[in-house]
Amino acid sequence: MRVIVAEDVMITREGIVRLLVEAGVDVVGQAADGDAALSLVARERPDAVVLDIRMPPTHTDEGLVIAGRIRDGFPDIGVLVLSQYVEAAWAMRLLQEHPEGVGYLLKERVMDAGSIVDALRRVCDGETVVDPTIVSRLMGRQRRHDPLADLTARERDVLGLVAEGLSNRAIAQRLVVTERTVETHMTAIFGKLGLEESADQHRRVLAVLALLRA
């Protein structure tokens, strides 16, 4: 898989690149800011881009803007935004504007070769990925009126794994059930969240957004 890495802090960028290479990813370019990343993307046409959310000039949310521009300009290229922000608000901003082919991961996730390769593959396939830490923060949130209250404990687990970007098969493996069971759970979740019949992938994203908004 051909990947471009954009991160302004050099030693962090080098660390990310080394970890990606260790995980078997083909890093075809490195950029220190958003504009360099965009021109590299146009030249190299990678399969995916790994972007730091904070880059020059303002060091706030440039990564989200660049992610959107890449998705708009190159719908085939998946984008993974790496961030230090653990709040769901950022992930929601990313997913709301571009609900497909994007992922929001905490930066340390690159240390887990399996997770990062899986996430890259998913965004390349047009799916969405949200960091498990953020998902579990949302799941573990103290609440009185839970919009997800109708879901059973099992269904909530399934939804969390969907948010993390797992496929039905991966969820089945993780929960040690059959894929058929997961599909049943998914149908129940869509029904309880009032998501209309539509393309399965689209509904999965909507379900994740419902979780982020909750």
Partner: protein, 599 residues
Amino acid sequence: MTASWPTAATWFARVVVPLVAIGFLIGIAVVQHGFADPAIAPTRNGDTWAVALHVSAGMVLIGGGIGALLLGVTIRAGLVGTLAGMAWFGPMLTGLVIDQPLVRALGAASAALMVPLLAHLVLSATSPGTLPRRSARVLAVLYALGSIASLVLFVTYAPFFDVRCVETCRSREAIAGLGSSAWMMARTIAGVVTLVSGVWIGVSSAWRVLRHRPAMPGGTMALLGGVVIGIAAIIGGLFVVARGRGLETSTAIRDDLEAAVSIGLSLGTLAVAVAVLRAVAHSFAARRRMRSIADGLATAPSPGSLGSALASALDDSNVRVAYWWTQERSYVDVLGRPVDGSPTSPGQVVTAIQRRGAPIAIVEHRADIDAEAFIRELRPSVLVALDNERLRATQLAQLRELRASRARICEVGDAERRRLERDLHDGAQQHLLAIAFELRVARLVADRGGDGDRASRLASAESLAMGIVDELRRLCRAIHPQVLSQTGLVPALAALAEEAPIPLEVHAQVPGRLPIAVETAAYELVVEALDQASHRGSAELTVEVDGLGDELVVEASDSRPEPLVAPVRLADRVGAAGGRLSVGASPRGAFMRAVLPCA
């Protein structure tokens, strides 16, 4: 406040009508009782109505002049008006059948100066301030020539003040002959002066009426009067000059012309005199209003009431009052906002008000208002009130400065926190992550090399590093929540709820982003209330945010009856954003509330 002073209609009724009426009565009486020598003046044929009109115009002229002099509001116009009035009656004096040669000579002499004086009056009544230099020069020349003619006429009208001398002084034929030719020449000069004055005032008045509206009260009426005077004077002057050159016309034409000239002069003069009277009344009313400001003052007038009192006293709704801020050597308005000390628009001028030699305020008003004169009329109590208002305005200005300064201090602190957060986030945290990445790579290498002991040591070092990364992440959020400054209040509160130890219910109606100081204050209020509520074991915290109006109202309440505590730090933060912090109890439970202006 000004209700006791007559309006334009009533002063007209009270002053002009009586003067005109008395003038008419005198005029009719003069003609009917044969006091006038119809052969001399003002009209040779002795038309009663022309005489009555003549006397009326003179009465109003002298009335306006003396009124202006006595009231001291428009002294120049008063002096000129009085002199013109005296000159006006000159020709009549010569017509009186009295054997007073001195009086008759004075009357005859004054006629030469009458039209220059009327021209001067028109100028005085229509232009504020001193006359333009060119007009003053023309007037000086006319006065000089007129005076020479007057002097000659005065001496030669009745040599040795014997009215019959011209006819009877046969024994002094040489003197009489000399006097007679000098008299004729003086009459010609007087005619020329009258003619030139008439042309000048008629043309300039007509030009001013056509070109632009005169701003002085009654200015248009005075100018129209000037035009009529000008026409009458041109005809009269030509007539006199023609006679001086021996061109005689038939008696009928002469009488008609004289009557027309007399009536024209009377009507024009009446118009000018009424305009002068009106200006006098206007000034007098303004002065009374200035004086009466004190009567309208309560012991502590409400802010701004002095400004509107001055505006109505000066009869200018655009009057602007600014107070002198001694400490800053600048001006502030009644609310303590800094304002300009110079006129804000063309056509406006600024007049300073002083108390005991020290500046207290400035008044901006229309350029044609002689504010200096009015301000002299301000009573000491008004000056004290103005000075009080000035003190209040400067206190407000100081308060304003203090508030701005507090907000700036807060801003500086926030900027410092942002910088600190950035340094931590982009510096220490990134480097720590880089170390963790490095450790992971080393661990993978160790794993591949089958060095299990080394790999586990690297793994524990890595988890230590990640622990610090988490710690720093929390620290960064505490120093400056990026989620607040980047995504706004509502997402930031949602993020707060994600990790809140007790349920945090947020009901927010906020239209987009608000000033960062307001968002920060509201956010910190919720953080504080959440902290207190969770520490005292509340079941939950409910937050209501209403930002739909001009103010953001944020209220956090838990279900317990004991009040929440408002820490000074939070009160300062809310205060710096210009808001108010309060705590209390409602049926729903204890609450902490801030009202923050969003404008």
